[in-house]
């Protein structure tokens, strides 16, 4: 088992000992917290405060979930724009001059709340040979589409995300394939990975409604516009040209 050794006296807490999720309640965004393994808090002063730090895109918010002796299970989140914040459970000293000292903390992990461009497509090394990549689009549910990349490539998933040529040549096709599947639904999805993808499409083309139930030509045009917006947003062509020494 891998353990982190800290020289500050701060204890490493297991992420798996805590449950955390985001929920909407009466129009308010709420963090829901639970202690799954109570033993994890053994030995900490009872008045120590349980805090969860949420961080995303230049935004920090701390949620307070009571103390070790009296934990509470929900806390309102003031900033509603959190989508996939990085979160970390922290136990903070509440004893006199040492108040504010960190007594224990988990490693950070990403909490998903809706889709984003990293989270809606999973990159996975796999034995795809003789093909370089292969796309797996699930029928429905919460499991996101997976882009398998030839596992013989070192750090295949990272390479696929960062290589300009791969991104420019493959990702537009992937977006098109996935959106054809999404638009085959009779109406706008309300959950599952299809909902995440439609939410993502709205961020690229605000105000441009997906043509569910529309004519094939409308769907083709909408997907084409989406791919152009996607390519524009990420400078796909320019990035490839830059690797070739720029535009002539």
């Amino acid at each position: 088992m891998r353990r982190n050794i800290r020289l500050t006296g701060r204890k490493q807490l297991a992420k798996s000992a805590f449950g955390l999720s985001l929920s909407e309640n009466d129009g308010k965004l709420v963090g829901l917290f639970s202690i799954i393994v109570p033993n994890e808090l053994d030995g900490f002063p009872s008045e120590s405060e349980i805090r969860v730090k949420l961080v995303e895109n230049k935004l920090v918010e701390v949620l307070r979930f009571g103390t070790v002796a009296s934990p509470i299970s929900s806390a309102e989140i003031k900033e509603k724009s959190f989508r996939a914040p990085s979160c970390e459970v922290r136990l903070v000293c509440r004893d006199g001059a040492a108040s504010g000292k960190l007594l224990g903390s988990t490693n950070a992990w990403t909490l998903r709340n809706g889709g984003d461009s990293d989270g809606i497509l999973l990159f996975q090394p796999s034995n795809t040979a003789p093909r370089l990549w292969k796309l797996d689009i699930p029928d429905s549910g919460d499991v996101q589409p997976i882009l398998y990349v030839d596992e013989r490539i070192p750090d295949a998933a990272l390479w696929a995300k960062s290589d300009p040529l791969f991104a420019a040549c493959v990702l537009p096709h992937v977006v098109g394939e996935i959106m054809r599947k999404v638009l085959s639904l009779p109406g706008s999805p309300e959950d599952g990975w299809e909902f995440d993808w439609i939410t993502w499409a709205y961020t690229l083309m605000p105000g441009k409604k997906p043509p569910f139930g529309g004519l094939d030509e409308e769907k083709v045009r909408w997907i084409d516009d989406l791919i152009s917006s996607f390519a524009n947003r990420h400078n796909l062509a320019d990035r490839v040209l830059a690797t070739m020494g720029g535009v002539r």
Binding site: R51, V55, N57, K58, L59, V60, S99, K101, G207, N235
Partner: protein, 239 residues
Amino acid sequence: MSGEFSNLYRFTAEGLQLFNRVMTGQVAESALNLSSPKYVIPFEGTSKLIISDFATAKEMAQAICASLGSESPQALAGDIELWSWLTFALIDCLFPVVEGHRKIKELHRWYPAAPNDWQKAQRHLVRMPTLLYYAFGDDAEHLICGKPSVGPEIREQLTAQQDMFSANFMQASRILYFDEKKSAVKYGASSKGAGTPRRLGKVRQQLDVTWDMTDLSPERILELLPQEFDRFKLEESLS
């Protein structure tokens, strides 16, 4: 350097492409007509944007926040089309013509990097001041008290870490580096030596290992800082 728009706009895909070409000098500015629906779409729900000769990035951010109304700039951080439109609408404030030319400089001063790009996202000359003003108001004054056209060293340094975006840290760094009398950054705060913002970033990371920095009051943060910061603290107590 003044004008007004009835509301905010976003570039269309075509508008964004043309904006990129204008900013990289491939086509003339006049090619991008901000009243053409081919290039821009109105941002419904926003109100009038009045552009004047903004003396500071704070004034510019105030005008944008007023126009956004109830819309959170934070929620719009990834809206490339909006920030790009604002950049072009404010081009005379951000990239004034000097000796017949605009000095555009680095890409991400005018083209918004992905909001989660920790190295470059803070460089945008419109988005970062707006996010800072929206989240922290006057507590971020030391980062937005300069001209809109300048991305100062202190802003680059004190927005480089995610955890710097907490009110108590902003307040502590304002106490250290903002000269209330001159309404400007203190002398020496833009350099790279002891006690400067660059060092504050390093020291903050060290303190963060032992303390919950989001929990400490600004005064407590200042107490914990090593001696090298005394010259800025001292200036504060003398003023």
